[in-house]
């Protein structure tokens, strides 16, 4: 145990239901901005989302087309591998199931790619059945660019590095291809409830 600094307590932390806090996490009230690179700024008229790769036929949605899809506003908890958790966050977006209905694939794996050079990898299992969203509003307002706006992937049951900011496409792949952080030492799957932080966890 490192030496205790007398009188230091950190920021006042509110009481929370411990069953909502994965092991090793602490709850924050603010929304830390963490980024692997500069904030991209793609104008909406140039924005598109594409699903391609090992699919029968690639599909692309423009911003307007995305916004016409059925969307939902929901509240969820998010967990960052750097140990902060933010409870009760409210998002609006399109379920990835809605988009996946438009493609046919036998592939199990997908790579998410984004404006900037960020990528992450997921299984189809991890993004199906209500587990993943293309989110474009946070707390009732358009998603801030520093938090991934205009749209980010949201996969709340995994550590937040999997919820790729500035998503522009999903490529289905026959094999699992580690993304930006998975190749650098983070866990390939990233389940906060099993504390899958690092590659050898």
């Amino acid at each position: 145990m490192p030496p205790i600094s007398r009188g230091f307590g950190g920021r006042p932390r509110r009481e929370v239901d411990p069953s909502r806090v994965p092991p090793g996490q602490y709850v924050v009230e603010d929304f830390p901005v963490l980024s692997a690179g500069p904030t991209p700024r793609t104008p909406l008229e140039q924005w598109s989302l594409t699903i391609d790769g090992a699919v029968d036929e690639a599909r692309t949605w423009t911003w307007d087309q995305l916004r016409e899809l059925p969307a939902k506003t929901f509240t969820t908890d998010i967990h960052c591998v750097t140990k902060w958790s933010k409870l009760g966050t409210t998002w609006t977006g399109v379920s990835l199931d809605t988009l996946l209905e438009e493609v046919e694939t036998e592939a199990e794996y997908l790579t998410v790619w984004c404006d900037g050079d960020y990528t992450t990898n997921l299984t189809i299992e991890d993004v199906s059945d209500g587990k993943a969203w293309i989110a474009y509003d946070f707390d009732g307002e358009p998603l801030d660019p520093e938090h991934g706006g205009p749209a980010r992937l949201l996969v709340p049951h995994l550590y937040l590095w999997k919820s790729a900011k500035w998503i522009r496409g999903i490529s289905f792949t026959p094999v699992d291809e580690p993304g930006f952080w998975e190749a650098a030492g983070y866990h390939n799957h990233g389940d906060p409830w099993r504390e899958q932080r690092y590659w050898n966890d």
């Binding site: 980024s35 937040l160 650098a184 030492g185």
Partner: protein, 80 residues
Amino acid sequence: MELWLDGNAIAGLLADALGEDVTATERHCPHCGDDWALGAYRAYRGAGMVLRCPGCGTPGLRVVETVEGFSVAWGADPAR
């Protein structure tokens, strides 16, 4: 607001990860061909730290702090 600091700001982390103070060490960026001291690289704090070439922005180094130590990945695409 910019999200990066120069590599000096994370000199301690880099020293822990690499075993020595590397901020004065020059690295050749294979992407743009320029040499820059690591202390001049742009350090972004994401899930881990990313040091990007100040000339072209390509990642030169990724550092993940794990329980046991550090995972260090050089270059833009360590998986390939």
